[in-house]
C-alpha cells in the first residue's frame, strides 16, 4: 500500500500543531519564577562557590564503569591484532636508532632508568612494545608516531637489569634491528635485549 503524496490533511495537522497554545499570563509568570528558584541539577551551591560540579556517587560509579568499558574495548581491539604471530619484518626500516644497550635518560633513582625505545616504520599504522617488563601484553605499551619522520617512540622507566623485548608492528612480532639479539627463538622470531644499569641518578 502506498501513501498519497503531499496529503492535505497532513499539512493542516502540522499547521495546527505549530500554533501557540494560549496560556494565561499569570500562570506563565508563576512557572518561570518556579524554574528560576529551583536548584540547578548537578551544581552544588551550598558552600557559596557557584559552578562546582558535584556528581552523585552512583553517577561517579557509572562514569568509572563507562571508562573501564572503553578501556577494555580498546585493549581487546589492540590484542586482537597484536596476538598474531609472524616473523615478517618488511614493514620495519633499518634506520632505528636504539643503541645496543639502550642509553638511559637520567632518572630519579638508581634502581631504574628511563629507556627510550625507537623504531623507524613509516608505513606502519600501529606499533607496540612487548617484553618481560609488561607481561608481553601488546596493549600495555603502544609507541607514538612522529608524523614527520615516521619514527615510533616510547619512553619507559625500567628497573635495573636485563630485559627481553620485541616490537609488534601491525600485528607482526619483530626484534629491534638496532639492539642485541637474544638467542631465545622458542616461539618463532628472536627477541632483543636491553640492559638497564640503574646508575643514573
Amino acid at each position: 500500500m502506498s501513501e498519497p503524496e503531499n496529503p492535505q490533511w497532513l499539512d493542516r495537522a502540522s499547521e495546527e500543531l505549530r500554533e501557540e497554545v494560549p496560556v494565561r499570563p499569570e500562570w506563565r509568570a508563576g512557572l518561570l519564577a518556579d524554574i528560576a528558584s529551583a536548584p540547578r541539577p548537578g551544581i552544588d551551591d551550598t558552600d557559596g562557590r557557584n559552578g562546582r560540579i558535584v556528581l552523585h556517587p552512583l553517577a561517579g560509579l557509572a562514569a568509572a564503569l563507562a571508562f573501564a568499558a572503553i578501556g577494555a574495548g580498546a585493549m581487546f581491539a589492540i590484542m586482537s591484532w597484536g596476538g598474531r604471530e609472524s616473523a615478517s619484518t618488511t614493514e620495519v626500516g633499518l634506520a632505528s636508532s636504539v643503541p645496543a644497550v639502550a642509553a638511559p635518560i637520567p632518572a630519579t633513582d638508581a634502581a631504574s632508568d628511563v629507556v627510550r625505545f625507537e623504531l623507524s616504520a613509516p608505513s606502519a599504522t600501529r606499533v607496540a612494545l612487548v617484553g618481560s617488563f609488561n607481561r608481553w601484553n601488546p596493549a600495555a605499551t603502544p609507541l607514538h608516531r612522529d608524523a614527520a619522520t615516521g619514527t615510533w617512540t616510547v619512553s619507559l622507566r625500567l628497573p635495573a637489569g636485563r630485559h627481553v623485548y620485541a616490537f609488534v608492528v601491525d600485528g607482526d612480532v619483530t626484534a629491534d634491528p638496532a639492539a642485541p639479539r637474544a638467542a631465545d627463538a622458542d616461539f618463532g622470531s628472536p627477541n632483543s635485549v636491553v640492559l638497564v644499569s640503574g646508575r643514573s641518578s
Binding site: R84, F133, W136, P159, D186
Partner: protein
C-alpha cells in the same frame, strides 16, 4: 590518602616503572599451570632467577604457542639457567646467570663461560659488567659467528680491560660487517685486533 596514590598510579602511564610480573598466564590449562608452578618453585629453591621463567611462559601465551610448547620452553630455560649458574659460580647474580643461559642457548659452552667469568674477575675496573660481555657474546653467536670464536674474542677483549662501551661498539661493528657480507670469522678476527690495539693505546 588512598585516592592521591591511586590517581598517581593512573597518571604514571607508560613512563612508570615496570617490574616483572610473577604470574603464570591464566590462559594456560590447569595441569600446565601446575607443572609450571612446580618447575618455578624448584628453580627458586635451587637459587636460580625465576623472573625469566615467568616471562618465558607469558611470551609463549602472547605468541599463541600451545601449552606443550610453552612448558617445553620454560623447562629448557630452567635447565640453561642451572647450567649457567654452575659455569659462573654461586656468586653470580641473577642477571649474569640469565645472560649466560642465553649464551648457552646460542651455542656457547659452559667451559667457555667459565673462562669468560675468570677473565672478568681479573679486570681492574669493577664497575664493568659481566652481563654486557655475555649479551655481546650471545648476540654474536646468534648472528652466525661461530660460538667458540665469539667466546674466545670476547674473553680476550675482557682480559685486555676493554670497556663496556667498547664491547658494545665491537658488537655493532661486527653486525655491520656481517650485513656487508664479510665472513664472520675474518670480521671477528680483524675487529678483535683493532679493539685490543685501541685499548692498549688508551692504557695509561
Amino acid at each position: 590518602m588512598r585516592r592521591p596514590a591511586l590517581i598517581a598510579l593512573l597518571l604514571l602511564g607508560p613512563a612508570g616503572a615496570f617490574a616483572q610480573d610473577r604470574t603464570i598466564p591464566p590462559k594456560l590449562a590447569a595441569p600446565t599451570r601446575a607443572s609450571l608452578e612446580r618447575l618455578i618453585d624448584s628453580a627458586a629453591v635451587a637459587g636460580l632467577p625465576i623472573d625469566p621463567l615467568y616471562s618465558k611462559a607469558q611470551e609463549g601465551v602472547f605468541r599463541g604457542a600451545d601449552d606443550a610448547r610453552v612448558l617445553a620452553a620454560v623447562q629448557r630455560l630452567a635447565r640453561d639457567l642451572g647450567d649457567a649458574r654452575t659455569a659462573l659460580g654461586d656468586s653470580a647474580s641473577g642477571e649474569e646467570i640469565t645472560a649466560a643461559a642465553n649464551a648457552l642457548r646460542a651455542g656457547v659452552k659452559t667451559t667457555e663461560l667459565s673462562r669468560l667469568r675468570e677473565s672478568h674477575a681479573k679486570r681492574r675496573h669493577s664497575d664493568q659488567r659481566l652481563t654486557v660481555a655475555l649479551v655481546v657474546l650471545a648476540d654474536l653467536a646468534t648472528r652466525g659467528v661461530p660460538p667458540a670464536l665469539a667466546a674466545a674474542s670476547v674473553t680476550e677483549l675482557v682480559a685486555r680491560n676493554v670497556s663496556d662501551g667498547a664491547l658494545i661498539s665491537f658488537r655493532q661493528t661486527i653486525e655491520r660487517d656481517l650485513l656487508d657480507g664479510r665472513p664472520a670469522a675474518s670480521a671477528l678476527d680483524a675487529r678483535t685486533r683493532t679493539f685490543i690495539d685501541d685499548a692498549e693505546r688508551r692504557r695509561p
